[in-house]
Subunit: 104 residues, 4 copies
């Protein structure tokens, strides 16, 4: 059932001949193939990402299992992240200063 619409982009057509020197926006030539390749790379990465999110959930679950309060752990992680981010920003700012002053 269900007709997967969605792949409009389908490089199948093997429009062999005219695809040299194409401008971008190549819809049915080699472009389609290439586009599909990008899409698949993205999908692969997204799968990995989803798997990691799964793992993270599991760690929380495990922590919960031994009696920790998940909500609090989340908060702690978040706060630590804020610290990190802040430090990183400060470093960036410092670099900016250095650059402004010719130190780099």
């Amino acid at each position: 059932m269900s007709e997967n619409v969605a792949e409009f982009p389908h490089a199948e057509e093997e429009t062999q001949t005219q695809n040299e020197h194409q401008a971008p926006k190549d819809v049915g030539g080699v472009g389609g193939e290439r586009l599909l390749s990008f899409i698949q790379r993205i999908e692969r990465l997204e799968e990995e990402k989803a798997a990691l999110m799964e793992d993270i959930k599991e760690v929380y679950a495990e922590a919960k299992g031994v009696g920790f309060d998940v909500k609090i752990i989340r908060k702690v992680v978040s706060l630590r992240k804020q610290d990190t981010d802040k430090r990183r920003e400060e470093d960036e700012l410092l670099d900016l200063y250095k650059a402004a002053v010719g130190m780099i």
Copy 2:
């Protein structure tokens, strides 16, 4: 009702013997250490996740670099994902029907 005032985490009551005069960072017996371990595992995974998100952005950027329209790619990816999800849900619905009807 309900007190979600954040009573601090407390792992199982294995708080037996050593909880007076603790070293810093060990609030509830061995709990602190254990908690830290969970937190670090989570942070590690989140780093990996961030890296993947970075990678994904790069793929989009690369696609853009060779002339594709990022917005369109995003849409296509999204629609393909919807297909997948929908199929999965339809299967679930089918299972639901079966269960409702005693076929399982």
Copy 3:
């Protein structure tokens, strides 16, 4: 990113004359009043929303009452919604393609 420490709300600087020794609840001149008005409009709408959610629950309950399986109904509703959304998005994708190709 920035300090979300909550500098308190402040409407446009029309805080001209009367802002010393204000009554409570009026922090920035006429701003407080105006702010309150926004807040109340929002709260009113949220109440209506909550009422609707209540109604929806009741319909599910009623359906359950005559023997339907709520879980299945939810799934069906969800799938029908996905259809709608998907169709809409496909149209958007089509527009996107057209635009990309100069047809609009």
Copy 4:
């Protein structure tokens, strides 16, 4: 495309006599029709809900337009809601006490 799968339905087994001249889409006796009716009522309500959410967003936008900080307004609304909820819970608790003590 796609024909919403879905109505497999079976309301109570009152499938006896009355299924003459059914409308299309009536798979399991009068059940399908009834189910559809429920579904449509739900969908109608959900539309209204979506409209309200739209309205709320507009109010926020308007507030922003005159210089208020949306994030802060959200926070205020949320805090006020917590107050309300808390008060409601306290009232319920009070009722409980009263009941327990025969005051009602």
